[in-house]
């Protein structure tokens, strides 16, 4: 296996492993927690280093993950007072922890070359050279295994606790009532985030982890509201970003992880513009079409409403109808021409009448509308 292919595999594994907790972070509005953690793990690293005096100790990584959790705990603690909003809490906790780390380095490790980037590899380009050996037999890059394990754990957690996680995302109160401790789920999630961030930091480096964690989920969020689908889509998008990013990096001989992050941005923008339901294009095009479509439907509703009533010959009369819809004559003629062409209405004794097909269509459209807004209101309530 060449290094290139291994990088691709690692990239895909990291991307998929990151998106799983990422989906829940996005839905729980805690995306910036990852940013905080990427900073504060320095404290874990320096703290453990001052105890073990060994820059190569695996304990440094344990320290990093623990401080990740500590960060979450402190942010929660501050937020829980209800005196400080969550974003402000993050904005207070992470500079504090990071500052303590800098003070420790400046005071006690001034002559050592220590920072997060140097302790965690942070460079996917070299990940394939970090070999995993069992009894002297080379079985592939270490990152494939470490991130593979994290991926499997994340996957397992999501599958096992899917119901609980879903509830905690959409209705933490209900989750509590039903006996799922939101705190336990919270910390379970955050432990997974913390371990994934540190693990992925090893592989792709610095704050690009954030792109891997948050990018694909919000891109998927533009495409679907279904949680399961969202997880699946994010994983797919993450993998595509990693692969395409890798090729771009190769083509231009630039940073691989950087290109993957850039690709994350590009794929988001493409979806942002072209997404089938929520994309910018669709929205703009729909706005245009909607006006005519809505006009047609309102015309049909109007005709149907007054069909076979005693006011029919006033409301639905060919000469009169524009008065009752308050549209310009020109516009109304266009709509009526359209509707007649589509065989939805006919003129009978100078009165517009629905065809059978037209009537069926009208009822169906109305039901659709009613259904769609009740869906919408349910979503809002959520």
């Amino acid at each position: 296996m060449t290094a290139q292919i291994e990088i691709l595999i690692i990239g895909v594994i990291v991307a998929v492993a990151c998106t799983i907790p990422g989906v829940f972070l996005v839905l729980r509005k805690m995306a910036m927690m990852t940013d905080a953690i990427t900073h504060t793990i320095l404290l874990g690293i320096i703290g453990v280093f001052l105890l073990v005096h060994d820059l190569n100790s695996p304990l440094l990584i344990v320290g990093a993950a623990l401080v990740g959790l500590l960060t979450v705990y402190l942010v929660e603690l501050v937020t829980k007072t209800k005196l400080v909003s969550e974003d402000s809490a993050i904005g207070i906790v992470f500079p504090l922890l990071f500052s303590i780390a800098i003070i420790l380095i400046s005071r006690y490790a001034g002559k050592v070359h220590i920072d997060t980037d140097s302790v965690l590899l942070g460079e996917i380009a070299f990940a394939p050279f970090n070999r995993m050996k069992i009894f002297g037999v080379d079985i592939g890059a270490k990152a494939m295994y470490s991130m593979g394990v994290i991926l499997i754990i994340n996957l397992a957690l999501v599958i096992i606790f899917f119901k609980e996680l879903k509830l905690s995302v959409f209705d933490s109160k209900l989750a509590a009532v039903l006996g799922f401790s939101p705190i336990l789920i919270e910390y379970g999630l955050m432990a997974s985030v913390s371990v994934t961030v540190v693990g992925a930091f090893e592989a792709v480096g610095s704050i690009l982890v954030i792109a891997f964690m948050i990018g694909p989920p919000i891109t998927a969020y533009m495409l679907t509201d279904n949680l399961k689908l969202m997880i699946g889509l994010s994983a797919g998008i993450g993998a595509i970003n990693a692969i395409l990013g890798f090729f771009i990096a190769n083509a231009y001989d630039v940073s691989i992880a950087g290109s993957m992050a850039l690709m994350t941005g590009i794929s988001f923008i493409i979806v942002f513009i072209f997404a089938p339901r929520r994309g910018l294009f669709t929205v703009i095009r729909r706005r245009k079409n909607q006006k005519i479509d809505f006009a047609k439907k309102s015309m049909l509703f109007h005709i149907m409403n007054h069909e076979n009533t005693d006011r029919e010959n006033i409301e639905n009369a060919v000469d009169n109808i524009y008065k009752h819809l308050n549209w310009s004559e020109e516009f109304i003629n266009r709509i009526i021409k359209n509707l007649i062409q589509e065989k939805r209405i006919v003129v009978l004794d100078n009165i517009y009448k629905l065809t059978d097909e037209g009537r069926e269509y009208t009822i169906r459209s109305y039901e659709e509308i009613v259904e769609s807004f009740s869906e919408e209101s349910q979503k809002m309530a959520r």
């Binding site: 002559k111 380009a125 070999r131 001989d253 072209f274």
Partner: protein, 305 residues
């Protein structure tokens, strides 16, 4: 969804083709990857025509802040020999390189074999200062690591390597005496080197300079007001003529120091820019290790004498 994927992929393919670079051919030379510019230079000198050197870090790149590009992967993969500094200069990267030994690659840790007593150690954390290259004799001693590896890897070129190596040794001796001679021009009391970050400790130890830096080695460390103040006091007290900026550290730190000194009614010059973590760029005198050390000592001596 499918449309999107097709669109994305075609977009990237187009981009990739536009930017495609040609692959280097195999020309039978020994492929060596070196991390820093100093090491690349050493390999070039000793290996001569038999090696093809790929320096991961270009000129002017701070090893602490180096970011790999996609091309570095193939360089690493194709490499026969990997040369790096060690003592955690390359961070985690070094650790990985060390483990490459035996995977059809040879690995040279240039600082290997330097005795503990010659290393500069941080008392509180027991870590070592990796900026070994400013002590010319240590550098000379270290080169043996590369030389041994080269002759082991390609015994057929042993004679050429030996010639190059011996030449290099002579040049380094000459350089050492040049530095020492230059240092003599500076008053013994004035042999004080003040820079932005602590990269010159080995230089100081070897050539009798008192070395002071504003900030620790780690890029994460930060200076305090008292550090600026005490360093300023020190400059005034010892009537130091000049302080130096470094190629890879923002000049602001030294400017602040100068201002602090000026406020005490003493004027300290900014003596020029020193090369700290990398050699100079192509086309300058400091393109090679020899040139860089010369340039540094000239700058220092000119400013301080």
């Amino acid at each position: 969804m499918k449309k999107l994927a097709v669109l994305l992929i075609s977009l990237v393919l187009v981009i990739s083709f536009v930017g495609c670079t040609e692959k280097k051919e195999d020309n039978g030379k020994i492929k060596v990857v070196a991390t820093t510019t100093m090491l690349a230079d050493m390999v070039r000198v000793i290996g001569g025509d038999h090696v093809e050197v790929d320096g991961l870090m270009g000129p002017g790149i701070d090893p602490h802040l180096y970011k790999a590009s996609a091309g570095d992967v193939s360089a690493m993969q194709d490499a026969d020999i990997v040369v790096f500094n060690g003592l955690h200069l390359e961070g985690k990267m070094g650790e990985i390189f060390e483990n490459l030994e035996g995977n059809d690659k040879s690995v040279v840790v240039i600082t290997k074999g330097i005795e503990e007593k010659d290393l500069i150690t941080d008392e509180s954390s027991e870590g070592h200062d990796p900026h070994i290259w400013f002590d010319v004799l240590q550098w000379k001693k270290s080169s043996i690591n590369l030389y041994n590896e080269l002759i082991e890897f390609a015994p057929e070129h042993k004679d050429d390597f030996k010639k190059n190596y011996d030449n290099y040794m002579d040049e380094l001796d000459e350089l050492d005496s040049y530095v020492k001679a230059q240092v003599e021009k500076v008053n013994e009391d004035s042999r004080i080197l003040i820079t932005a970050h602590d990269a010159f400790a080995y230089f100081g130890k070897a050539y009798g300079f008192e070395v002071r830096g504003l900030q620790g080695i780690s890029t994460s460390s930060e200076a305090g007001t008292s550090d600026v103040k005490s360093l300023a006091d020190y400059i005034v007290e010892h009537k130091i003529k000049a302080i130096f900026i470094e190629s890879s550290v923002p000049a602001k730190n030294i400017e602040a120091l100068k201002e602090a000194v000026l406020a005490q009614g003493f004027n300290v010059e900014i003596g020029g820019e020193l090369y700290s973590d990398s050699l100079g760029t192509k086309g300058t005198d400091a393109e090679t290790y020899l040139g860089t050390v010369r340039a540094n000592i000239d700058t220092i001596v000119n400013a301080l004498k």
